[in-house]
């Protein structure tokens, strides 16, 4: 690939997978300002690793790994901010105005609240389960066996159902 084409390819990859970045950032950061920083940090790390990307894995697998690794380590906020140059103050992802009322939004908010309440690694697994990733892909992203994925997912599913039933009653 011509080096000058690299930024364009990178932007195309980010454009196609922006939802992943947003959902990961949203699950690990409740605060809007920190979330903006996290999205920026994930994008920076993706660009930094872009040269080393091999087609051994899908782009989505590669993005999930970097996004989750960055998000889980994001509590070092103060140090992290120093890594991102000051001239990068704008946001990478923007939400256009949407109607945020109704039962559906309320339920989505509740689901996100439950996900945020999980431990960091369980949260990663839950996200991948909700994204309907295959056990093989989850195993590749998290780095555990497929059998272990199945066991852990079942445990978290039970927990989630339990939480939802508590709210309903």
């Amino acid at each position: 690939m011509n080096p000058s084409d690299k930024p364009d390819l990178f932007i195309a990859v980010i454009q196609a997978n922006k939802g992943i970045i947003y959902k990961v950032a949203n699950s690990y950061c409740n605060n809007a300002a920190n979330r903006k920083d996290l999205v920026q940090e994930i994008t920076v790390q993706l660009w930094k690793s872009f040269n080393n990307y091999t087609d051994q894995y899908k782009y989505s697998t590669w993005i999930y790994r970097i996004a989750l690794n960055t998000a889980i380590s994001f509590y070092r906020k103060e140090n992290r901010r120093k890594e991102v140059p000051n001239d990068l103050s704008g946001s990478i992802l923007d939400m256009v105005d949407t109607n945020n009322t109704g039962e559906l939004e309320e339920k989505i908010g509740l689901l996100q609240q439950f996900i945020s309440g999980l431990k960091e690694l369980d949260r990663a697994l839950m996200l991948l389960y909700l994204e309907e990733k295959s056990q093989k892909e989850i195993a590749e992203i998290i780095g555990i066996s497929e059998t272990n994925v199945a066991t852990k997912v079942n445990r978290i599913k039970k927990l989630l159902k339990q939480k939802f039933s508590t709210v309903k009653t």
């Binding site: 660009w47 690694l121 066991t151």
Partner: protein
């Protein structure tokens, strides 16, 4: 709510995002133009500084020990030798951390990367243990023959109590400053504060990583 309903709820969230999430192309382009420092780059200069400062200190104390060996009193030499030995071990920990920093690849699977990162941060605990181990040395280095010959019972008693107290504290802290005690009150009290937060969080994460490694 059943599994299918939860998945469908997530799908509707996905659909909503697809409709309303916009990528800011210009800001993304800006990222591709800057020279990016590596994921842990900010940690490296501090570690290198600690290693270099440690080496300078160790060389200074070693030289002092060698030069003063024929003249200095036993207690000073004993305290200095133990102190320099523990400082060398602390430098070893910083070297280990530096190697781990180079080995971390953020595009590796989550568990492997988080394991390395958490071990990297929680190894700082060993530096704290070596610091604690040095506590009694600060109560012995100034002892000398004349002090022992001319002292009285009261001074001896005070000195013994202080040194014994610091020794017991050092042994206890060295043995108990461990990841397994992270939830104990005294541990949280000592390692309370913003600078220790990454360490505490890393230890919590390490216990999650260990849980995930077990296939059950």
């Amino acid at each position: 709510m059943e599994d299918v309903e939860i998945i469908n709820l997530w799908k509707s969230y996905d659909k909503k995002l697809a409709e309303s999430l916009l990528l800011n192309r210009r800001n993304t382009e800006d990222i591709t133009k800057i020279k990016i420092r590596s994921f842990l780059a900010s940690m490296r200069p501090m570690k290198i500084f600690n290693i270099l400062a440690g080496i300078v200190w160790v060389v200074f104390v070693d030289t002092l020990i060698i030069k003063l060996f024929p003249y200095a009193n036993f207690f000073f030499l004993f305290s200095a030798i133990i102190h320099v030995l523990l400082t060398k071990l602390a430098i070893g920990i910083y070297l280990y951390q530096l190697i781990l920093i180079y080995l971390v690849d953020i595009s590796e699977p989550v568990l492997a990367t988080q394991d390395k990162l958490a071990r990297l941060r929680s190894s700082t605990l060993w530096v704290a243990r070596f610091l604690f181990a040095q506590l009694p040395l600060w109560t012995t280095f100034y002892w000398n023959k004349s002090m022992l010959d001319n002292g009285n019972a009261f001074l001896y008693t005070i000195q013994i109590i202080v040194t014994l107290f610091f020794t017991l504290m050092a042994v206890w802290l060295f043995r108990n400053t461990r990841y397994e005690n992270r939830d104990k009150k005294w541990f949280r009290l000592i390692f309370n504060g913003i600078e220790w937060q990454p360490l505490i969080k890393s230890m919590e994460l390490l216990s999650q990583v260990d849980e995930y490694k077990i296939e059950k």
